[in-house]
């Protein structure tokens, strides 16, 4: 029984999702996002193929294609052809 309990606990711990939004750049070139979080407006560059965590508590981003998106903070986003695909 102990083994089951510990296995369960392990599972639960491991299954805790990372809650901040993660952005993965699937394009061949670096993507520059404009992230507006709280009062600040900053540019986040994501190099090709890499993944970044942004804004855990909700923000707005502007993708290279010029589209603006509101994010709750728990999304997984992929940049494909300069445009964001929210999973």
């Amino acid at each position: 029984m102990k083994a089951f309990v510990s296995a369960f606990v392990l599972t639960v711990i491991a299954a805790f999702p990372a809650w901040s939004a993660t952005v993965t750049n699937k394009d061949g070139e670096p993507a520059v996002l404009v992230v507006v979080e709280g009062e600040s407006r900053m540019e986040v560059a994501i190099s090709a193929g890499s993944t970044e965590s942004i804004c855990p508590s909700g923000c707005f981003i502007t993708t290279p294609s010029g589209d603006r998106l509101g994010l709750q903070g728990d999304e997984t986003i992929e940049i494909v052809n300069g445009s964001a695909v929210v999973k």
Partner: protein, 846 residues
């Protein structure tokens, strides 16, 4: 029963019914309607979002105005911040809601492809128009999101602005510097008489107004609040009377008793007073008795009264000036009295200071008056503190409490003097706000901390093993509800934990309020604590986890209930084989448990897709450590499906033999004939051969070897054996018993009586009967004796585990007596010497 069956059918139908309906719907709506709906839906979310954003913008404007107005009101600002944060969240949610439409447009644009390059043949007009329309819509959505972005920034700015304002406000109240000089004091003195007049007039006019026009309401408000307080007081007194009452005892009360009496005698009157104050204010407000100019004064008066009561009862409880036996700290009688008085005086002065400043504020008196009042109060409190350093409360080790005390130790003395001096200095140098804040902290926070400490000590004392059973409450519970020792102990533990929770939940917010935080702040913190705790990029929601656990528990209970219902109502009546019943029951149990677990996990907000990773990690773990457990688990499932044995079967595996008592998922419980319970891992049953005496039926053969000397006639022996076997009622006629001449020994012949039994479980008893009968018959007929001639001693049988059912229910009389009666007694006279006959116990194992 019928109703239950009906319910089952109904629920099954309800589950099954929507499926075809849902399947039909899309088909019906497929073409024109669907497109229409889509267009409508396309129009709505943007318009909705635009409307929502417009509302949010107006809301923010309104809030900004309110903030400018309320920039001095810390409490209001705290509430506004909560409101603005909620608005900011709402703005983000609005923009998230239009995201799907943007995705749709992007997808459609991708389908349409890029516009034709220059020189390429032009595309169809419809396509060009649609692209244009989609691009316009995309632009509109982006503009909308842009607006949301701006609003969000604006909201965050407002929220941060509030935080900054509140910080300034706090430091202003604390560190505001006023020049104390002669003119100021003169101004204040001049203002005093004016304020007194205004105050008298206001209060007088309110009283007249209340008495003339609101008499009934005033009286009923007071009456109702008094009732509430009385109910609370009487109820708690009844419940906690042994905790509160300080009886005149012959012996000195124990430390724990003193402690809990101190804690509860502080808590209960204070709570009752607080209840009275709150309810009376509430009712006065509800019945419109209070006027806006009087309401703050009344509320502060009530609060000050409660605070003074709290501190003075606490001082009384701890110091017990009148009853030295109940004193918690070892100070002299005189010292205790003086200390209690000084604490009381400090509290009263501090409370009056607050009351006076509220009055000045309401009456619109000049600010100097408030400053001077606080100045005086601070100086008085400083003086009292310094005076307290002169008290000689300590009692030397050998002396009684009524003796002359010793002075404070040097550091304590210094602390008193320095704090008092610092208060006076701060007040005189113009930092009146700071002095007042420190004075309040010394009195109120000190009192709250002391009470907390007492409460925690009380909780610890109550939770101690068997502490509750020795108290009056424990004896009452024992008498009234017949609680056992263990129950009382557990109740004590629960009570102790409850007291801890009470102390923490009640006093920590109180202290925070003391430090200038507002109720809205504390609420927001509590809310955040329960909904989202953020550690790095991970957010944990306590409510989510609790909900998950609750759902899991509910699922578990429902599963157990369903299992029991299925077993006792459905399967028991449909005469299903007990093995199948057990398997189905267990299977349903595990299925339900797994379902409940899944529901709980998803309710707790755990992402099941992350489990793939875990499964990868676990498979490695299974390869090493968990291999055995998993193999047993799978074996258990196979056992449930294959059912090589069921509960109650008599099985043999390896060295273990006995009755199966329980088949669970990891191990099977086997009870041996000696009543030893053995847990056999399920994999043993799958990997090794398992003997089951009672698999399809309980029919079985049992053998009794009989050894007789060579001077007996073998045929006669065999006949006699068969006669004996046939005479036993439990021996089956078909297959019929056999007597076999099985071996020639050195000096003996070995026979074997093979009998078939309908229930092999009875084997031991039947064999026992038969052996008795054989012995007696052989004796009578002179065939031999079942013991060796040389020793003439009965052979000691090997220790053989015997099923007790068998031993208990056998009465061998009938079986044995019959042949004896049938046989004529003719041979009884023939005296033959006993021959070497022995009955072996070997091979008796079944």
């Amino acid at each position: 029963m019928t109703s239950k069956l009906f319910a089952v059918f109904l629920s099954l139908w309800m589950v099954a019914a929507p499926v075809p309906v849902m399947a039909q719907q899309p088909a019906a709506n497929a073409n024109p309607q669907q497109q229409l709906q889509q267009q409508e839906a396309a129009a709505t979310p943007q318009a909705q979002a635009a409307a929502q954003l417009e509302t949010a913008r107006k809301n923010l404007e309104r809030l900004a105005e309110v903030i400018t107005k309320a920039k001095d009101d810390d409490n209001r600002l705290a509430e506004l911040k909560v409101e603005i944060d909620a608005a900011a969240k709402q703005i983000i949610a609005t923009s998230v809601a239009i995201r799907p439409r943007l995705d749709e447009i992007k997808a459609r644009l991708a389908e349409l492809g890029d516009p034709p390059a220059e020189g390429a043949p032009p595309e169809a007009d419809v396509v060009a128009q649609e692209r244009k329309r989609l691009l316009a819509e995309r632009g509109a959505i982006n503009a909308l999101t842009g607006t949301a972005e701006d609003l969000s920034v604006q909201a965050t700015k407002l929220s941060n602005g509030i935080t900054a304002t509140r910080r300034v406000l706090f430091s202003n109240t604390l560190l505001k510097h006023t020049d104390i000089n002669r003119t100021m004091v003169m101004d204040a003195i001049a203002a005093i008489s004016l304020e007194r007049q205004t105050f008298m007039r206001t209060v007088g006019s309110w009283l007249t107004f209340a008495w003339n026009f609101k008499r009934l309401q005033l009286l009923s408000a007071l009456f109702l609040s008094l009732c509430a307080a009385l109910v609370l007081l009487a109820g708690t007194r009844r419940l906690f009377s042994p905790f509160i009452h300080r009886g005149v005892l012959n012996e000195e009360p124990g430390y724990i008793t003193r402690l809990s009496v101190a804690f509860w005698s502080t808590m209960i009157p204070t709570m009752a007073a607080a209840a009275f104050a709150t309810t009376s204010y509430f009712f006065l407000q509800v019945f419109n008795v209070l006027r806006p100019d009087i309401a703050p004064i009344v509320s502060v008066t009530l609060a000050v009264c409660v605070a003074v009561l709290f501190v003075s009862t606490l001082a009384n409880a701890v110091l017990a000036p009148g009853q030295s036996a109940w004193r918690l700290v070892r100070v002299s009688d005189r010292g205790a009295r003086l200390l209690a008085w000084s604490i009381f005086a400090m509290t009263v002065v501090n409370g009056l200071d607050y009351l006076a400043s509220t009055i000045s504020e309401v009456m619109g008196s000049p600010i100097v008056l408030t400053v001077v009042k606080s100045l005086i109060a601070s100086i008085i409190i400083g003086l009292i503190l310094m005076a307290m350093s002169l008290i000689k409360p300590l009692v030397a080790a050998g002396q009684t409490l009524d003796s002359q005390g010793k002075p404070w130790p040097r550091p304590v003395w210094l602390l008193f003097v320095l704090t008092g001096a610092a208060l006076i200095m701060a007040a005189l140098s113009g930092y009146v706000g700071l002095a007042r804040f420190v004075a309040t902290q010394i009195v109120m926070t000190g009192a709250i901390l002391v009470t907390m400490y007492l409460g925690i000590l009380t909780g610890k004392a109550v939770a101690k093993q068997n502490a509750l059973a020795d108290t009056v409450v424990g004896r009452y519970l024992e008498r009234r509800f017949g609680m056992e020792q263990i129950g009382l102990d557990q109740a004590g533990l629960v009570a102790g934990l409850g007291i801890y929770a009470l102390v923490v939940l009640l006093f920590i917010p109180l202290i925070l309020l003391q430090w200038g935080f507002q109720i809205a702040d504390i609420q927001a913190w509590a809310y955040r604590l329960f909904t989202e705790i953020r550690i790095g990029s991970i957010t944990i929601s306590i409510t989510g986890i609790l909900a998950g656990i609750l759902l899991f528990a509910a699922g578990f209970v429902v599963t157990r209930w369903f299992q029991r219902w299925l077993d006792s109502n459905v399967m028991a009546r449909s005469r299903i084989d007990p093995g199948v019943r057990n398997s189905v029951k267990t299977g349903v149990g595990y299925l339900g448990l797994a379902l409940a677990g899944l529901i709980g996990i998803s309710a707790a907000g755990l992402d099941l897709s992350n489990l793939a990773l875990v499964a990868g990690a676990l498979s490695l773990g299974v390869g090493f450590g968990l291999q055995n457990i998993v193999s047993n688990f799978v074996s258990g499932l196979i056992l449930l499906v294959e059912r090589p044995f069921k509960v109650g079967d008599w099985v043999v595996t390896g060295t273990t033999e006995g009755f199966v008592r329980r088949i669970s998922v990891r191990a099977t419980e086997i009870e041996t004939f000696q009543r030893q319970t053995i847990m056999v891992p399920n994999s043993l049953f799958i990997n090794a051969s398992v003997g089951n005496w009672t698999h399809r039926n309980k029919l079985g053969r049992s053998d009794i070897p009989v050894t007789v000397g060579y001077d007996a006639a073998p045929r006669q022996v065999m006949d006699t054996l068969l006669q004996i076997a046939n005479a036993h009622p439990l021996v089956l006629k078909n297959p019929e018993p056999q007597a076999v001449f099985s071996a020639f020994g050195e000096a003996t012949m070995t026979f074997e009586l093979r009998i078939y039994l309908a229930d092999i479980v009875n084997g031991n008893g039947v064999r026992n009967d038969l052996r008795l009968a054989i012995y007696e018959r052989f004796r009578e007929e002179g065939l031999g004796a079942p013991f060796p001639k040389e020793t003439l001693e009965p052979e000691v049988s090997l220790p053989q585990p015997e099923p007790e059912i068998v031993a208990a229910r056998k009465t061998p009389d009938e079986a044995v007596e019959q042949p004896v009666v049938d046989e004529p007694v003719r041979r009884s006279g023939t005296q033959r010497r006993p021959r070497r006959v022995s009955v072996e116990a070997v091979g008796d194992k079944d």
